[in-house]
């Protein structure tokens, strides 16, 4: 009852196929046979054949970072993410989800978000002068809580470019984490509907999503789940590229050698790999990691860091080694949770793209 026909077809094709194990960032750091798409498919296929859906199977299902590397890698085009999300929905419905998931969901229900309340005077000062309504809405998303310096820099960049924009005083949770945790459950859909209503009430023409998590859920889930936004959604790097190319922003190239970590939501789910690179190349010398762009290996960003910080720390440490091997001194990220994850690892200086760009404006 939880799985669509498409899920079942994917499950039965993935269950005996080991060909994407080499790109699973969780499997890379745990070495566990259970941490790959094949294992999840095998387990769910057995459940579909009468095996009980057990709590430890549900644990395996939540050990996935939903980074989509397996989907990108699949030559045939199978996407293991939908059945993984449906397996999460089934686990919650059957009361076998891990305790840490239930605790996280309780926290989200209580606070309206998985993140602590934002208490950053610098950001508050930057936001104080902004109008309540404008044609452009900067949606801060989890950046405000997870990486406030990127939010501050983003606001300053837009001001520097002369953009008239608003930031919601009571910004709703975008719902990306809930969608990851619950799958397409009705409770998650209601959160998206409520958020869409609040955002639409601003009456903006363009939403600039600072966090790739927000951009992804706005562009992919909202319409699909019956909660359309009445505005065009753009990612922050794409919007800045427009401003730069229109002459509203100018950057000086200092020749600094940096590398760039593609967030999986931006690179794989929204296929946006060039905009950040264009901007970075305008400011410095970009040295790519061996696996980059849509093939980038996740550093543990996204929702998994909220409930399995141990896995995120391991993925970040592994990815940091890739970054170090480029010879760069700084790693640029375009995602608040990537920034936080990589900063948990020893190695290069980790800098949000917005901060890097602001430093290079002229």
């Amino acid at each position: 009852m939880y799985y669509t026909d498409s899920d079942k077809r994917t499950i039965d094709n993935c269950r005996f196929c080991f060909m994407c194990r080499h790109v699973c960032p969780v499997g890379m750091v745990t070495g566990s046979e259970a941490n790959n798409a094949r294992a999840r498919a095998e387990l769910i296929s057995l459940v579909n054949r009468g095996f009980p859906y057990t709590a430890d199977m549900a644990e395996v299902v939540y050990e996935c970072a939903l980074c989509g590397a397996c989907t990108t890698q699949c030559c045939t085009g199978f996407d293991p993410l939908p059945f993984t999300k449906h397996a999460r929905m089934a686990a919650l419905s059957e009361g076998i989800a891990p305790a840490y998931i239930n605790e996280l969901l309780d926290r989200i229900e209580e606070n309206g978000s998985a993140y602590p309340a934002v208490d950053n005077p610098e950001l508050a000062e930057e936001l104080a002068s902004l109008p309540e309504k404008a044609d452009v809405l900067l949606f801060l998303g989890n950046a405000a809580a997870v990486c406030p310096e990127s939010a501050v820099a983003a606001v300053r960049l837009l001001k520097k470019a002369g953009v008239t924009f608003a930031v919601m005083k009571e910004e709703p949770d975008c719902g990306m984490d809930l969608a990851d945790l619950m799958g397409p459950a009705e409770e998650a859909r209601q959160v998206l509907l409520a958020a869409a209503e609040k955002i639409n009430a601003v009456g903006t023409k363009t939403i600039v999503a600072l966090s790739p998590d927000s951009a992804k859920v706005f562009l992919r889930e909202y319409r699909e789940w019956g909660a359309p936004l009445n505005a065009e959604v753009k990612t922050f790097p794409a919007f800045i590229v427009e401003l730069w190319k229109s002459g509203a922003l100018n950057f000086k190239n200092t020749g600094e050698t940096v590398t760039y970590q593609d967030p999986f939501r931006l690179a794989r789910e929204l296929h946006e790999t060039e905009a950040p690179r264009e901007l970075i190349r305008a400011c410095g010398n970009l040295k790519e990691m061996y696996r980059h762009g849509e093939e980038a290996i996740s550093c543990g960003e996204g929702t998994i860091g909220l409930y399995r910080p141990d896995l995120t720390a391991k993925m970040a440490a592994r990815r940091m080694k890739d970054a170090i091997s480029t010879g760069a001194m700084t790693i640029i990220t375009a995602c608040p949770t990537s920034c936080a994850a990589l900063r948990s690892a020893e190695g290069l200086t980790v800098k949000p793209l917005e901060v890097f760009l602001l430093e290079h404006t002229c």
């Binding site: 094709n13 993935c14 269950r15 005996f16 196929c17 080991f18 060909m19 994407c20 194990r21 080499h22 499997g27 890379m28 745990t30 070495g31 566990s32 046979e33 259970a34 094949r38 294992a39 095998e42 387990l43 296929s45 057995l46 054949r49 009468g50 095996f51 057990t54 430890d56 199977m57 644990e59 395996v60 890698q73 699949c74 030559c75 045939t76 199978f78 061996y290 696996r291 091997s325």
Partner: protein, 474 residues
Amino acid sequence: MQLKGFMFDMIQNELEDAVGRENCSTREADKLVHGVDYYWLSRMWADRGMTPPEADIIVCPKNAKEVSSVLKIANYYKMPVTTWGGGGGTQGGALPLAGGIVLDTKRMNEITEFNTDSMYMESGTGAIHTHLEWYANERGYATMHYPSSQNCSTLGGFLAHRGIGVVSTKYGKIDDMCLSMEVVLPNGDIINTSPVPKHAAGPDLNQIFIGSEGTLGVITKAQMRIYVQPELRWFRAFLFKDLTSAFAAGKELLTKIKPSCMRLYDEAETVSLIKKIVGVERKGAFMNLALEGMKDIVAVEQKILFDTFAKYGAEDLGSDYGEKWWKEKITFFYPGHMMDIPQMFGTMDSVATYSNIEKIYWAMKEAVETNFPMAKFIAHFSHWYEWGAMIYDRFIVDNPPQDPHEALRLHNQIWYTGVRAALANGGVVNDHHGVGVKLGKLMKEQYGPAMQVMEGLKRQLDPNGIMNPYKLGL
């Protein structure tokens, strides 16, 4: 022994002490995923909703020292130990058929040395092979070991069953690429084989453990050759009038030069391949090959190739097929591109001298098609030596029995029949997929009294018989 209750907890605690609690699992989910590998029978078993073979506990050691501790514990309690790499094997070699411990090697994945002076890299054997290739490529080198399973299998898995890749004719099998190894013996002793593979210091220890499929110990680290990337990799396809002329041409070519890749297809496969290339069905024997290395040398080899093949009436079909095949050489391993359940299938690869190889093809084809009319038989020959070639022959049954016991019986019958036909004509039990549980019983039929050499090693090194029971016929 009783592996439940109090005593099980005691043993579990010892294993946790050896490898860390987080690296020991009794989760049902972990047991289930270690109970299905790439073996058709294990897949069929799961497909029919049957309980896969299960270990009692999964341990994931980080290095030889931890493996040593695990094996000492296992020996004390006489618990079976089945070593698991990527589970990409087709012979059931990694299935924990006797329960006990699954020793998953994938945490032993550190690359500890990349030596361009002596052209090798040293790695833990739990490394996924594609990760080794990435590492080498990033530094401008290559492993030149490209089996279809490179994404899913570990270095140790390839060593354990004597794997091979598509450019083997020039660069060799995995056993040709290994310089030295660290091995943990069943009693827990950590040993190193000779520092180099070529010597006169007695028998080659590498070749005792390579291919031993976890029955004689656990290979924990290996030094593997690396290669410079070729300036040019050049493909060419040809159509011969039949297998006989293709073999004669291939054999002569191998006396002069070494292509990296040589793939000859039987008539059944040729008909469909040729249609894709020239648009019409044509009979014959299709061969795709690659020459590679320095451009100037490849140019000389191209002339030798054309001159040699012209003598045997080969029709030149150009380079397009080969270039496309190279780009997509592992695509066929993905779902939707190859055989899968509900079909029953198997690859009964063997290897033999040129005097015998074509005989083996016809004998296996006849044995399978005569005894099992529901089975299709196709073959190609994809690894060539100066003395002979390997046959990659496959049977396919579109509608096998639904009953798992009947399906298992039919599968084994076809295998026994096909492999016995190979053995009767100078072939071997297997070329590069190994033996596992699938072909263990046929080992004695191939080796006869020579099997006592392997049995003697097994008795001496593993007197309690804990290492990978029911595999390799040991």
